[in-house]
Symmetry: C2
Subunit: 536 residues, 2 copies
């Protein structure tokens, strides 16, 4: 990516980083200057202020989890008011006029590398927090709340015209927001939106990996479908027979989380309508949902969220509370959930160990035979809905959204153009007809209604990073697949811990990739992974 | 009580208050002055500030509940830091120097009665928040944390000497605190401590009800025990046979909560080591704990907490967010939990309906026959432990603590005197020998370790108020006992809602009692209740 600042060791990840960071033994934590050192008063003051911000954010994160996982309906209004009050406080902490001279002062202080990385992240938080005038934030908040609220009934009614009425003002405000963020960060407006989720990401960097994908993905999907049909003809796929008791699914989820190293002394699994990973790094709250007619969605959803959770649970303890100690970005986060769900969870060797666990909770069905279970988990079927998509067709959903939202932000398209663009791209990429089916077309996601433009690319960047991490792992540990098949996941966890989790936000995503894998994001790893798994 | 400000209608509670408050139809909520009214700018500003305080407190209340009911152990340190940060913010909001002129300004504004009551409560919150210098609060916090922490291991070790070492500095600080609160409120130091939990409460008011109690309680206990022994000889008491599956106990608890009108759309039941009622009025979180060898503790504990919960759930919606809209006091709160647990839960008529519910979940045991179940629930047995005490001996535990802590605060006793005082009073009040058994003596409660002196009287005041509410209910609804026996609890809930819940903090406790029952707290109702139930 364009903002990369290559490390001195371009040849690959650092050699002796096991357990702690290369050279970190002599560095203090970012929280505290060296004992007795009074040469960094501005930096020390910033550290205190960001710890305060972290403490308050903790309360919001736990209360937000509670809202989704625990709160009864009548608590909603009071909770919303309390969280809005907290948001205002958090925003106030980052827009305090005292910060500007402190940031300038700290930049002139004798900071070590870690502290300087922390200062970089502080500055970023300050820039983005100050980019928008309060009245714009309020107008945006009203417009997105109205759009989201109406969407909940307009989507089931397939009411595109009604939805468009509310989406237009949201788009207007996001365009204004993108210009202001762009000005503050000195970058292009759409890049500025992506930057909120994936710092440093640019259209050029996305295109570098999405343009090849755009060309090889549709034929790959057709090849995979043909291969799958042959396989089905030769050996019919067996479906598990339900119902699947919810309490057993929960037990299975907990068992798989244990297998995947989730620390239950520092987190929980609960239920919510839309699964997520929340809470705080010291206490990660993941959720899933159960359907009694199918056990695979809760199982794979739990594995996905466990990937997010382990990243948070293994951020460096000593850095927590400071911006440099938080997870790097949405793309890198997704690379962890997809490392768990796709690279590991659907790995035929992993499935060998998963199958008996499933049978332990749901009986010895023929469908739970490892080879059949692996086929179930890698089933490819082009469809209209992104969140239901398989590993192979998922990126098509992202490509389409990236193209459309980018055009919307730069003014090459308007809200009224969305349905036609959608239909055309769904037909071209997946051969799926979405005409007039708005609710399963551009009305299926909540992102745009909520003003979240620039987020979608992160999903597929995450999948690509995950493939790159595992390609590196295989290079470094040639027996990796055998070890996974033998139930030994330690090489995977150790590598992720050392190269991703413990690095937190010390480097840009691009530099993190170079240090971890020897190169910036390279789509070849992703293509190789898909071909190996689905055509190999 | 001495601070009572009798209402114009001394003859009893107001006649036509069903549903809403007498005369309130013409009053605005305390939140908003009349539309277009700009004559109360200081009051309006105070209202905004207290709403802000309420929003932040919401986050702390939910996170505190979470800490006890949900949080895994490794989350503790971060949670403690976050809650401490919030405490500092909340304290800062109430010690903002801008409040003093606003309070003075509002006092000169044309406020209605409700607004004036709100201003009185605001002033009280401001006075108590500003009474202590920050350094004292910090020293107190350190001393109590040290004392509580050590107590957790000293209590099981029966180490009085070690415990006393930590309790002495706590007492010193609480004495200092009591002098400062006393100065701020213009009252006696021990009254000032009680005032924190029960505003307006004085030693004189406590003595007015405790002095008679002190004389008639010990002989009453002996009479009850003799009567109970006779009854046992004539008809042996049957004990339920366990084990009692925890999930069934939970189902039973939920069923009883439904019977008692708990609103599950505005609250939850969960598990914690020490049962409590928490959360926020809009979303009340109660907890219980289950033992598989006995079902009655979780059952009666749930009924107790449901009483607290219904008070909170039925505070007047329009007043929430303002001090006048919160529950009146600890004593009044306890009068609700004990109205549910003792007045209602152990009522032989109520038990007629409870018994088949218990049998529904645990089978048709002879012990669950209504008459036997009622005997189990009203079993009297003098013992060393307050929290395990029955309805009849419980007040003895409170009398003893009141006498000792009052002597400690005024300097008539020192920490080293506690064991001898304890032994003497336990022998005199309950005939129980506690010599050398410190862990089941003065080390059994956490209150004093945490600096909570002045709280204990509220438990028994609550029991007395509960008896007074039910005496009034019977006067107003002569068929009350028949209706309870028929499973019709509406008269109880309607009365409590109208007279207690919907009154929130509009009146002092003493005036609330006069308006609800026609007189200030009168211990005769309590004595009559005990005699009727246990000697009738």
């Amino acid at each position: 990516m364009s903002s990369v600042n290559p490390s001195p060791s371009q040849t690959g990840h650092l050699p002796d980083t096991s357990g702690s960071h290369s050279g970190d033994a002599v560095l203090p934590t970012p929280h505290q200057p060296l004992a007795g050192d009074t040469s960094t008063p501005a930096y020390a003051e910033l550290v205190d202020r960001f710890i305060r911000h972290y403490h308050f954010k903790h309360l919001g994160d736990i209360c937000s989890w509670d809202r989704s996982a625990m709160m009864p309906p009548k608590g909603n209004e009071a909770r919303a008011a309390a969280l809005a009050e907290l948001d205002q406080l958090l925003h106030g902490l980052l827009t305090d006029p005292a910060l500007q001279p402190l940031l300038a002062g700290a930049a002139a202080e004798p900071l070590n590398d870690l502290q300087r990385a922390n200062l970089r992240e502080m500055r970023r938080a300050w820039l983005t927090s100050n980019a928008l005038p309060t009245e714009l934030v309020q107008r945006r908040s009203l417009a997105t709340a109205r759009c989201e609220h109406a969407w909940r009934s307009q989507r089931p009614a397939n009411d595109w015209a009604g939805y468009a009425t509310n989406l237009r003002p949201v788009l207007d405000l996001v365009r204004e927001e993108s210009r202001l963020y762009g000005q503050a960060l000195g970058i292009h407006p759409y890049d500025a939106l992506m930057d909120l989720y994936e710092p440093g990401l640019t259209r050029a960097a996305v295109d570098r990996v999405f343009d090849p994908l755009r060309h090889w993905l549709p034929p790959l999907i057709q090849q995979v479908l043909a291969r799958q049909a042959e396989h089905d003809a030769a050996q019919p796929l067996l479906r598990p027979v339900g119902p699947f008791a919810v309490d057993r699914q929960r037990e299975l989820s907990l068992a798989v989380m244990r297998k995947l190293g989730f620390d239950f002394d520092a987190g929980r699994l609960d239920v919510s309508a839309h699964p997520f990973s929340g809470g705080v790094p010291e206490d990660v709250r993941i959720t899933t949902r159960y359907r009694d007619d199918d056990l695979l969605p809760s199982l794979m959803g739990t594995i996905h969220e466990t990937g997010h959770a382990r990243y948070e649970q293994n951020l460096p303890r000593a850095w927590l509370g400071q911006p440099v100690g938080s997870s790097r970005s949405m793309g890198i986060h997704e690379s962890q959930s997809l490392s768990f769900e796709m690279q590991l969870g659907c790995h035929p060797g992993f499935v060998q160990g998963l199958a008996p666990l499933v049978a332990q909770f749901f009986g010895d069905q023929p469908a739970f035979a490892p080879a059949n279970l692996a086929r179930l988990l890698t089933r490819v079927a082009p469809g209209k809905i992104r969140v239901d998509a398989d590993e192979v067709t998922y990126p098509a959903h992202v490509l389409l959204r990236y193209d459309i939202e980018r055009a919307l932000i730069v003014g090459d398209a308007e809200v009224d153009d969305i349905p036609a663009l959608w239909d055309e791209k769904m037909a071209a990429l997946l051969g799926v007809d979405t005409r007039s089916d708005y609710r399963n077309g551009p009305m299926q996601d909540v992102h745009w209604s909520g003003g979240a433009f620039g987020y979608f690319p992160c999903y597929t960047l995450g999948a690509m990073y995950a493939a790159q991490w595992f390609a590196t792992l295989r290079r470094e540990c040639p027996t990796l697949d055998e070890r996974i098949a033998a139930g030994d996941l330690k090489p995977v966890f150790d590598w992720l811990n050392r190269n991703i989790w413990q690095q937190a936000s010390r480097w840009s995503s691009a530099e993190l990739a170079v240090r971890a894998s020897g190169s910036e994001l390279d789509v070849a790893h992703y293509r190789a992974h898909l071909e190996r798994r689905y055509l190999g």
